[in-house]
Subunit: 192 residues, 6 copies
C-alpha cells in the first residue's frame, strides 16, 4: 500500500523529467486494471452552471496509467453562449479540435504587448493553446477535445485566483492593483 503510493509519488514528480522519453513501456502492473484506461469521455459534461461550460479532464489523477507518459486529454462542453473564463496553464501547451459547433476562441499575449487575438473555429478546426490567459465563447451547442503536453498541466483561473482566493486577498490591495474603488472589488469578490 505504502509502496504503491510511494511509486505513484515518484512517478508523478518524475513526469516532467520523462518527457519525451519514458524509461519503461508502462507503469501499471496490470493492463486490465482501471489504472490502465479510462471510460466515458463520450458523455456530455453537465453544463447547467452559470458559465454554461464543463471541463472533463483525463489527467494522471483520473488515469494513473498516464504516469510518466507526459500527455493527457480533456473534453469540454459548452451551452450556447457558454464560457470558459480567462485562465492559464502553467505546465503545458494544448491542442484542440472542434467536434461539434462553433467556438470563438479569444486569447491575450503576455507582457508587454497584451495583444488580444480572436478567431472563430468551426467543426474540424484545430487550434493550439498558449501559455496566457484566454477566454472562449461559443455561439451554439459545442463540444471539443483537447490534449496537453503534460500528465498534469495545472490551471490558474484568473477570477478564482484573484477574487476567489481563500482567505480573500484584502480588498484594498486589489482595489489598488486594479485601480478601482474598493466597492468594485467587493462586488467581484462576492461572486467567488
Amino acid at each position: 500500500m505504502f509502496l504503491l503510493s510511494f511509486v505513484a509519488l515518484t512517478f508523478s514528480y518524475l513526469a516532467l523529467a520523462h518527457e519525451p522519453s519514458p524509461l519503461q513501456d508502462f507503469c501499471v502492473a496490470d493492463p486490465n486494471s482501471p489504472d490502465f484506461f479510462f471510460s466515458g469521455l463520450h458523455l456530455m459534461g453537465n453544463i447547467s452552471n452559470h458559465l454554461g461550460s464543463k471541463v472533463t479532464p483525463v489527467f494522471v489523477t483520473q488515469l494513473p496509467g498516464l504516469n510518466t507518459m507526459g500527455i493527457s486529454m480533456v473534453r469540454i462542453d459548452y451551452a450556447p453562449w457558454g464560457l470558459n473564463p480567462p485562465h492559464t496553464h502553467p505546465r503545458a501547451t494544448e491542442i484542440l479540435t472542434i467536434l461539434e459547433g462553433t467556438l470563438q476562441v479569444r486569447f491575450v499575449t503576455s507582457n508587454p504587448d497584451n495583444r488580444f487575438i480572436t478567431k472563430v473555429l468551426q467543426k474540424g478546426d484545430v487550434f493550439w493553446g498558449l501559455f496566457i490567459s484566454n477566454a472562449m465563447w461559443v455561439m451554439d451547442m459545442l463540444w471539443l477535445l483537447l490534449a496537453f503536453s503534460s500528465q498534469n498541466p495545472g490551471a490558474i483561473t484568473i477570477g478564482n485566483a484573484v477574487f476567489g482566493a481563500n482567505p480573500a486577498i484584502p480588498a484594498d490591495i486589489l482595489a489598488k492593483a486594479f485601480q478601482v474603488d474598493k466597492s468594485v472589488v467587493d462586488q467581484l469578490q462576492a461572486k467567488f
Copy 2:
C-alpha cells in the same frame, strides 16, 4: 533551398529543446495566417485501401504554428475490420479516445518480455500509446482522435521498414533474421 533545409533543421532542434516549456507565446508572425490553425479534421479519411484505415496527421508539417509547442493531433478512420499495421513512434507518447465504433487495440511490450496485450475499446474510452509496435483491429466503422507529446512524433511501420525498404534489404539477410526460407521473404517483399 538552403534556407528551407536550414529552417527545417532549426525546427527539429527546437522541438528537442522546447519540451516542456516554450519560450514564446507563439512562433508565427500573423495569427490570421494559415500557419496558425488547421481545418478539416472532421472530414473522414479515405479508407478504401487494402488496410481499411487512414491516418490524417496534424503535425508541425501540416500546422507550422505547432513549432516549439511539443504537441500534435491525429485523426484515424477505420473501415470495418480495418487495420493499422504494426508500428512504433520513436519520438512521442500518445493518448487516444474513441469517437465512434469499437477498437480492439493490440500491442507488444519491448524486449525481453514481448508480452502481447489486447483490449477492446468502446466509444468514449481513453487509451494511451506505448513506445512499441502495436496493431489495431476494429470491429466496425470507427474513428478516433489521438494526440502526441511531440510536434513531430515520427513513425516506423514495421512492414514498410523491413520488407518495403528502398532499395530492398537483401532477401537472404531477412531470411536469416526471420529464420525462414528465402521464398517466404520474397512473398513478403513482393507486397511492399
Copy 3:
C-alpha cells in the same frame, strides 16, 4: 524576410536556454563588448507611478550575453505602500532577497485550492517565487533583488492581460466571466 528568420532563430536559442548545461563558455565574441555585462542595477528605479513600484530587468534583452545561460536578475523598487500587482511568470521560478525595508508578500496557489498565503519579509529574508499570480505590498521604502531560472522568464500581469488587452476583450464576456455587471467591467477596463 531576414528579420523574420532572425527572430525565428532567436526564439530557438531562447527555447534551448532552459537546459542546465550550455555547450559553450559564453556566446559573445568579445568579452569587452556591452553584450557581455550590464551596468546600473544599483540605481533606484523610478517609483513615481500609481503603483509605487518599478521593475528593472536584466534579461537576455538587456544583457545578450545571458543567451543560453538560463538565468537572469531583476531589481524591484517600491515606494511606501507600493504594489507589484497580481501577475504570473509562465517560464521560470524565482528567488528573491530583501535589501532594504519590509515586504508583505502575498500569493495564491493554483486550482483547485486557490489558497491565499501571506508572509512579512524583513531585510535579509530570502523567498522563492511560485508559478501563480501574486501580489506584493510593502510597508515602507524597499528594494530587493530577484533572480529567475530563465534568461527570459516572461510575465502576465493579470490586470493588463484581462482588462487592458489591445483591442479590449468585449466587456460582456468579462462581465460573464467575473459574474458582475457590465458597468463594473467598464470601470476596470477604463483604468488600463
Copy 4:
C-alpha cells in the same frame, strides 16, 4: 563564413538539448562495491547460436553505478556471416567502433522514406546508430564496442515483437498487416 557560424550556432543549441547533468558525483555508497564497476567486457560472447552473434550489455542492470549517469556500453561479437537481426532502440542513440573484422551495417530510415542505407565498416571505423530498425551483417570474425546515450536504452527486436509475442498475435491480423497468406505468418511464428 556564414555557414560556419550557422553550424557552430546550431551545434551549441543542439547540445543544450542533449546535456545531462546528474545532481551528485555518484550514486553508490561504496566505490569498492561491485555496483561501482564491471569486469569481463574483454571476454568474447558465445556466438554459437542460429544468428551467429552475441550482445554483452553493460547497462544499469549490470552496473548499478550507472544510475543517473545516462550512458552505457555494449560488446557485440559476431561469427563469420553472423547477424544482428532488425531492431530499434526506443530510448537512446548509439555510437560504435570496430575492434576486429569487417561489418556491413545496414539500416532503414523511418517513414515515409524507408530509405535503405548500407555501409561496410573496417577495423577502427566509427559509426553512430539511428532510431530505426537496422540489420548488421559481418563478413568475418568480428567484435565491436558500442555506447548508448542512456543507462537503459531498451530494444525492440522486430521478429520477436511481431512474430514471437507471448501470447502470439493472431495470425490473421499479421497476415493482413503484411499482406501475405496466413500460412506465411504461421511459418514465421513457428520460428519464434
Copy 5:
C-alpha cells in the same frame, strides 16, 4: 518522519529533471515552516580567514523549499584584497551583481583556448558566471549577491580537490601532472 525524508530525497534528485518547470506550486506542507523561507542574508559573512572571503549559500540544504525550484542564491563577502580561489560549478550557470565595492573578476575559458579574461566590476554591475574555474580579486571591502540556475549547483575548488584531497593524491603523480619537482607539490599539499 521517514516519509518526509523520503519526499525530500525524491524531490532533491528530481530537481534537475524539473528545470525549468516544476510540477507543483511548492513542496512544503506548511508555508509557515522554516523550510519555506530563509533569514539572514543581510548579515556579513565572517571574512577573517586566509582568503579574506566568505560564501553564504542559500541552497536546497539551507532552504528545503527550493526543492524542485531549480534556483538558489548566495551572498559573498570579501575583505580588501580578499580572494575567491579558482573553482568551477559542475551543475549551474550563475549571475551576480555588486552591492558594494569593486570586484576584479577573472576567469579562464575551457580547453583548448584557456583564454584568460578579466574585468573590473563596480557597484551595480551585473555579470554572469561560466562553467570554468575563475578567480575573483577585490580592491576594497565588497559584497555581492549571486544566483544559480540550480538548487544545488555544486562546486569544485581546484586547490582543495587537487592538493587537499583526502587521502592525498600521491605527490609523484601531481609532480608529473604539473611538471614540477615533487618538493613543489609537497609545499602545495602542505597548505590544504
Copy 6:
C-alpha cells in the same frame, strides 16, 4: 534494505531526465559523405610527449554526423607510466573499458568532501567517469575506449586552465589562492 531499493528506484527513474530524443534520423544529407562516419580509431595515438598519453577524440567536430545524437567516443593511449593529468568534463558523463593493459584510475569527489578514490582496472573492466577532476596513471602499455553522453563533452585541464592560461593569471593571485610562495607559482607557470 528497503531504503536502498527505494534509492535505487528513485535513481533509475531519474536517469530519464538525462535522455535526449533527436527529432530526426540523422542530420547529414549524404550517408556516403565523410560527415557520416569516421575512420582510424584503431590507430595508436602518438604518446611520445611528457605525459606519455594521447587522446584521440571522435566528437561532433571530427564526425559532424553526431550532430543531435548526444553521444561521442574517444580513444586514449598511454605509455607505461603515462598520465592523463587532472581534468574535468563540464558537459558529460563518461564510460570506459580497458582494451589492453592495466589502469590505475584516480578521482576526487567535489566539495565539501574532496574524497580521493582510486581503483586498478584490468583489461575488460568497465568504469564510468565523474564530473570532477581525476588523474589516471597506468602501469604498462595501455589503450582504452571511452564514450561521452554528449556530442561535445568539453574539458578543463586543471594545469592548463590555472597555470597555463593565456595571458597568465597574475602569479600573486595564484600564490594566495594556493597559499604558497610566488616562486612556487612561477615554477608551475613556467611549465605551461
